[in-house]
Amino acid sequence: MGKPEVWAKHICSAHDLKCRVNAVLSFYASPSLGDFTPSVLSVSESAQLSVAGQRYLPRDRESFLDAQQRNRRATWRISVLCVVAAVVMGIPLALIITPLLYAVVLISADVINYFSPLPQEFWQIAAEFARFGKVGLTWILQPKTAADPQALAIGLAVMLLPGIVLSIALWLSIDVLFRRSGVGGALLALNAREPNQNQLKELQLVDVVQEMAIAAGITSPRVMLIDSAGANAAAIGSSATDARIVVSRRLLDDLSRDELEGILAHLIGSIGNGDLRIAFRITAVFETCGLLVAIVNSPFGPRSRGVLWRIIRYGFVSGGAKEAAAVADLLARNVGLDTDDIDQFFDSGKRSRIRSIRNFIFFPIFFTNMAMKLCLWFFSTAVLGPSVALLWRTRQYLADASAVQLTRNPDGLASALQKLNEEPGDIPGGDWASHLFVVSPKRSDHQISAVPDKGHQQLLAKAWATASGQDSMQPAAMDFRTAQVQLASTFRAAMAGDAQAVARLRAAYQAVAASDPGLAAQIPNPDDFFGARQGDAAAIARLRSVRGVARDTSARQKVEAESSMSSVSMLGFHPSVKRRLKRLARMGAHVDFAAQKSRAWIVVLVLSIILSPLFLLLIALFLFLIAIMTMASVAFLVIWLTVIHNVFMLVGHH
């Protein structure tokens, strides 16, 4: 190893310069890496974005270093928010935990007292604690009478502290618990596979991941592929050390090397920035919320008890990565106003005397339960979810800026984002991690993403096998997934004008139509696509109707698949692609915004002016409802405390 400066002077050849060294020095000018790529490999799809001549001209812009710093500053807020969330979630929990704790302490003290008398001071302190309940009650019932502020503060602390401590403890233990199990279960859920390094595109993927890891100076994460119809990619894991990168095969097919580099630089930049740890902590907060709902529901129904039992068993036995993913999913799903168990509890068909007495006894608990769940639900969807989502967006911007730092080529990421924006991005099994993907996976309103049922899948696969001439050998070998992948690539070839591909598509469609006309109505006729391209109005209308049918089917499936991260927040976890492009443009990308100009914002403005008072009114009503519920629960709580206090007084006088 020699002295760096001597090396540096001599090792740079003309070619390297052309590549990047100059760019490194100036930090702004960013020659593309693709310069070295022989034209065999460069698919030259990215050319549409940039005019070759003016590609590297400096603009009025922000350095990616500044952009990173700006977005990084927002990070600590996420941690603060998580802690605050844990604290706030403890407040409704206190409604149940505090009296329970108090009762347990008193009863056990009583038992101990029976054998060896406790000092008088203990009973005095206990009585003092109970008195705070009374102070609270008088204050609530008669707000005019000025309560002693110190007594009130101590009273509140006595009431709330056990719940807060418990919820923070639950949050931390969930964090530790799921961190332990790693990402294996998530990969199983996504149906991910290892890339095949004998295949050009997949080898390229592995290479680009390693290149970006070198550029970021981190150990290269393992990369896995998903054969899905959506084009998307994600970095998953609980920390930088066990991170995996998951890429859908379609994304690989559709992007050029430069664009792929941009996307992977975004992911690896986000790993390097420590996003996975943050994401994990956020998920743990939502899972804690789900766990609290399960705890609150547990007296009423078997379902919540099942969830609780599963997580306890998982905590002690550790059933492996798959079980971890299942439990985490169960908890995340639990957030929300799930009243199944309670409905069952109160409305079961049999009406006997015992049952009605039981219902009468349980009714106050039910009331507390509802108040708690309402608080938790409102807090997680209207307060925690949106604020976490907004903060998470700054992490996305940060990762974009890091991607520019790693590639020194903002155009690659910009054009990749534009492309992905126009394609379906949903990954089956990826709902729970939607915030970890490069672009939002939920954009199903303008795409055909319906997955046909098993019988239709076989039929489609068979038809495709027949059409592509593989049928004569082994018809069973073709499964739906590979058929789907092949179909997608053939379709792209056909649209590019490959006559052979067109013929294959036609044959496949005819095979489907021959065996099942009903199914054929659900998939678009390839001839219509070509007609539509020539401007045939009838063909376009036919395509629209087919898409409508498919959308109905997919909408029905969407309702069933509704879960976790995307449903906990009203706001998306991803900034809009347009905004990301704008920021990339500030960092030097050449994005043409002229074509995207639209009048939509006026409609949005008018709608928001009309809707926002209604929305505020709704929120106010909701807060009012929660306040009433909480008041009622506090009243119950105080009654409980008073009862316990009096029991204790009786015991104490013995």
Partner: protein, 186 residues
């Protein structure tokens, strides 16, 4: 309550000491990162040497008439390996290797049937990737050097960084004539 000046002085000096220790450790960590980044470049250069024989073997059969191109590549590789530890010789040899590889790729472009062979494509991809890795390793090196130097030369630390034995690391710089070439291209 009365706080004696002695206590204040002790507290301040302990805080200062802790701060100096922390910044010293931070600088050491950064310096190690810079060294590591430097070593990474070597690793990638080695990888390129290992890949070349494969490429030559695969392509040779298709391109009987281009013997000189192969010989150049093989020779340049041998020279780069033989250069060993000597920095000046080795960096010149690596530059030569890069240039001959570029010529080889340019020649491959002239053989359409060769471009279609998947083996060749895969090898080409591997070499492209290696070139990129070398470039990225250098970029990372420069990034780290920038952080290290900035940390050293910002105000309170620049007072004692030199005393503790830290000196600014050098970045990769380009040869003047090479830079001139690029300017023409832009």
């Amino acid at each position: 309550m009365q706080i004696s000046p002695a206590v204040i002085i002790i507290v301040v000096s302990v805080a200062l000491l802790i701060w100096i220790i922390a910044s010293f450790n931070g600088l050491v960590a950064l310096r190690n990162r810079v060294r590591n980044a430097w070593a990474e470049i070597d690793v990638q250069l080695k990888r390129r040497h290992d890949l070349i024989p494969n490429l030559v073997e695969t392509v040779r059969g298709y391109m009987q008439h281009e013997r000189s191109v192969f010989e150049n590549v093989t020779q340049a590789r041998a020279q780069a390996i033989a250069a060993g530890g000597d920095v000046l010789q080795r960096s010149a040899a690596e530059s030569m290797l890069t240039a001959t590889l570029g010529r080889l790729f340019a020649t491959v472009e002239n053989y359409p049937q060769l471009r279609a062979v998947e083996n060749v494509q895969i090898l080409q991809e591997q070499l492209t990737s290696t070139e990129n890795r070398i470039a990225f390793a250098r970029q990372f090196y420069n990034d780290e050097v920038m952080k290290y130097n900035t940390r050293q030369s910002t105000f309170p630390r620049n007072v004692f960084a030199g005393l503790l034995g830290f000196s600014p690391a050098a970045m990769f710089t380009a040869l003047d004539e090479d830079r001139a070439n690029v300017q023409v291209k832009v």
